[in-house]
Amino acid sequence: MLEEFIKTLLTGNGFWNPLVWILGFIVIFLVVYILRGYGNATYKKGTSQTQSFLSGNPEYEKQFMHVKASNLYWGWTNAMKWIIDILKKMHTGNVSDYVLWFVIVLGVLFIFVGLM
């Protein structure tokens, strides 16, 4: 019964067994925990060591420090602006356009299957 549970999943050429992964995870966790232990001795609460450092600028109130969702991945969206603009133009939200896409795919597939 237990054997059935822990059997390895064969994926054609590879394999996957979560138990191996969990063992690895535990080992890495132990290593990290030990390394953390070394640093803990020099960590002092309440000193300037624990305060955030913003290139010498004063820190804002806490609620203004939160990075909003639309500010995330700014560089990526800026670099991919051309494709995002095309896609935004595609997603008009107009139901007639939705049906138009359906008709287009229908037409393309008709041609494709008709040629075969």
């Binding site: 992964w21 609620q63 420090m65 639309s70 595609m90 139901v95």
Partner: protein
Amino acid sequence: MSIMDFLLQQSPALIIAIPLLGAFLTPVISRISDKGRNLFVILILAFTAFLVFILAMHVFETGPMTYVFGSTQNVVSNNTVIRILFEVDALSAFMAIIGIIIAFAAAIYSWSFMDNETGLDKYYSLMLLMVVGMLGMVMTGDMFNFFVFLEITSIASCALIAFRTNKANAVAAGFKYIVISTIGALFVLMAIAILYGQYDALNIAKLAQSITFSFADKIALVLLVVALAMKGGIVPMHMWVADAYGRAPASISLILIAATQASLYGVFRVLFTLYGNVITMPSISLGWVMVILGLLTMLIGVIMALIQTDLKRLIAYGAVAELGYIFLAVGTGLTVLTTPENVANIAGYGFEAIKGGIFHIFNDILDIGLLFMVAGALYFATKESSLNKLGGLARNMKYTTVFFLIGLLAVSGIPPLNGFSSKLLIYESIFQLNPILSIIAILASIMLLAIFIKVFQSAFLGPALPQFSHVKEVPKSMLLAMGIVAALIVFIGLFPDLFVTNVVEPAANALINNQEYLQWLTGGI
């Protein structure tokens, strides 16, 4: 005959009939007591789930089961199938299991989630009707019946998407959904009529036996595949998904995912079973079309998800991207199946690809479903769905955060959760078709991780915001529903082989081996 045997024998009919009965009794019970109605719906779904499980176990062991309505005599007379019948093979049972699990979770979730809304008797009736339609679609053995259940699902889900009629966007999303699904369903009916006109049969097995792949059959094939793919939300016909999933109540988005997958089941059933005898004709490579559509679905889904700021809309685009994996994997299987030099490989990577695709249906519904439930929980607690306004909620909602983390890791395919095992199957098999496909699939998966990290960062992490200081953890029923799904995710993630061998493999076998589906016609019932 023991009661269990009786239930098993009648289960295909009862799985449809019991929720249907429940749907019509709900308004009556609703007049007596609200709590009683909620409990009644959960009990109905629990009993249906029990029936689905005993039926599925039977089907996985002994092969397809047919259930004839009306009478068991004269099913085939004069070479015509004259009765409506349900045919449940391993794939149908597989889809029914997911559908009923997710519907059960949604019913538990609704207990607290919908507590403050009005019109709940209609909500629960329609929810049960939606479950009926979904289960009917996956279990029926008759094309016209399939159309009817498709429409039942569309009508019920449209009314539920527009359930919050005081919100303009919800009503608009409902309207878009009903237009799309009606047009899709009408073209499905058109295709059914074409097939019916040629072969004088509506039964899937009978049609599959007599199909010759004439010109009209090609038209019917294209109509069926494109219309059902549109209902399944494949790019570029996916735009309604974002509107519908994003605006429906979270508990409905959950069942909608399963209903969408039932449409994809329709695509697979049409390609592999209905056209199963002729799809192996060498000149046809619809598989590549599916692969390309799958790639597009993945890429456009993730790019659109990355720029969203509304949480539920973002998850909806994530769900679209996940559909791409399924389509890609099954398309790979179909390509291998139909290319003559590769036919020998069907036992090899083609089969692995289909296994991965079908496994991913299950994982996709669970993962995206869990994320939707978390999004609903955030909305329930804060009445806010824009990611730009959320923040620091991990301090107030500890359990929800844990569930979101599980969903996040599972959906982006991080080991050891369930998403990884199915994606590994997909990556390895499509790599052998073309390595570039695999690279794009992994890229899309990484982007999914990035998308949901963004959600995690902006909604859960960060400093405590003063406007959310009063926010409390969501009620227990919602936590219970999320817990059920999360537990399933972890369980399947930890013991993937157990699940693949016992559930996924029979389903994949049933998909590629359509002779099993036709067996009752030649061998008698």
